[in-house]
Amino acid sequence: MPDPAASAVSLTVNGQQVSVLAGATVAVAVAIAGQVCRTSVSGEPRGPLCGMGICYECRVSINGVPHCRSCQILCEPGMEVRTDG
C-alpha cells in the first residue's frame, strides 16, 4: 500500500497532470484521472480486471511504448501515459 507519508509522484495521463502517492501503479493513476485504460476491438471501454498482470485489459502506452500492463508498473515522475482512442 502506498505510504501516505511518502512523497507524491507527478505524471500525465492523456496530457492531464495527475498526482499519486509513491508506490501507486499506473493503472491507479489512470483511474484517478477518470480515464479508462483501453478500448476493446469492438469499441468497448475497458479497465483492469485481474489486477495481477495476466488479463491484459489494463494496457496503456507509457512514454511511447504501447501494450504496457499498467497494473504491474509503478508510477515514475514525468511518465507520459496514453490510453486508447
Binding site: 476491438v41 511504448v65 504501447p66 501494450h67
Partner: protein, 376 residues
Amino acid sequence: MSGKTFDVVIVGAGIVGAACADECAQRGLRVAVVEREVVGSGATAAGMGHIVVMDDSEAQLALTRYSQQLWQALWPELPVDVEYEQCGTIWVAANEEEMTEVRRKHSFYAERGVPTTVLDAQALRRLEPNLRVGMAGGLLVTEDAVLYPPCAARFLMDRAQKRGAELRTAASATQVGQGRVRLANGVEIRGETIVNAAGAWSPELIGAIEIKKRKGHLVITDRYPGFLRHQLVELGYLKSAHSVTSDSVAFNVQPRRTGQILIGSSRQYGAEHKDVDQEILCRMLQRAQEYMPALGPMSAVRTWTGFRAATPDKLPLIGPWPGDKSLFLSTGHEGLGITTSLATARILVDQITGAKPEIPIEPYLPSRAGKEFLHA
C-alpha cells in the same frame, strides 16, 4: 452418409478440400467431405494466408495468377471474418544485385499481364518506413492479397453445404480407392470419384504419393496498427523455397487486418514433430529483425508450427491417380495452398466432369511423365 453413392467424396476439409467441395456443389455434383479434425485445421490453420503470384516457373505463375484472379472476383462475397485485404506484396531488395532480380521479375510479370511496380530506395522507404535503412528497393505486386484462412475455408464449405454438400468432421479416412473411402470406425462412403485433398497427410492414404512434410514456423505480435502496410518478402525467399534438403529461414511479414504482424518464414525437411524448434525460431526472428529492426521491441503473443505438403518439383498434384479410375489427387500445394485453392478446384472439377480447363493442366497431373516422384 453411408448407403448412398456420391458423385465425389473428398478427403480433407482444408482450404483445398473446401474449395473443391464448393466447386463440385456449384456444378451440381453430389459431394461428401470427410475431415479428421475440423474445417481448415491443417496447414490451412497454420499458414500465412497469402495470395501471391509466384514466378518460380511458368506453370507456377499460370496457376497462381489464375487463382489470384478468382480470389479477386470472389472478394465482394467474402464475409468480414475472412479479412481479405489486397495489400499487395513487396519483394524487398537488400542490395544492387537483388535490384537486378527485381527488374527481371518486373519484366517477367509484365509480359504475362501481372501488374507490378519497381520501387527505388526512396519509394520503398515511403511505402514501408519501418524497413531497415539501406534497402536498395523492391518490386510491388499490387494485386497480391492476404486473408484469414480458417474462415475462408469455412466460407467455402458453408457455401458447398448450402448447395447440398455433406460434411463429416472428426472422421478419419484410413483407406481410399475403388470408389470407396473407408473411415477409422469401419464406415465406408462410396463415390464415383474420390479426391485425396489431405495435404501433408496424403501419403497416409496413398503410399506411393511422393509428398514430404515441410515444416514452417510463424510468430504473431500484439496489435500495432499502421506499422506495416504490405506483405514483405525478401528475394531470398525463393532460394529458401527451392532448397530440397536444408533447413532455411527467409524474411516474410504480413499485416493482419487486426493490426497484428505475422512473422515468418521457415522451411525444414524431416521434422515430424509439431513442437517449436528453438534454433529455427531464433534464426527466423533474427532474420526478420535484420530487415525490420522495429520488430524487436514488439510484443510476440504466440508461436506455432505447421506442415506444408511438398512435392519434388514444387508443383501440386491435381488430376487422376494412375491405376485407379475412381481416384483423383488435389494435394501437394506446399506454401501456395491458399493462393491456388480456387484454381485447383476449377481444374480438378474440369477433369472430373470432362470440361475444358482454362489453363494447361499437364504440369500438375499426378501422371506427369519423366518426373521421378512416383515411387513404386
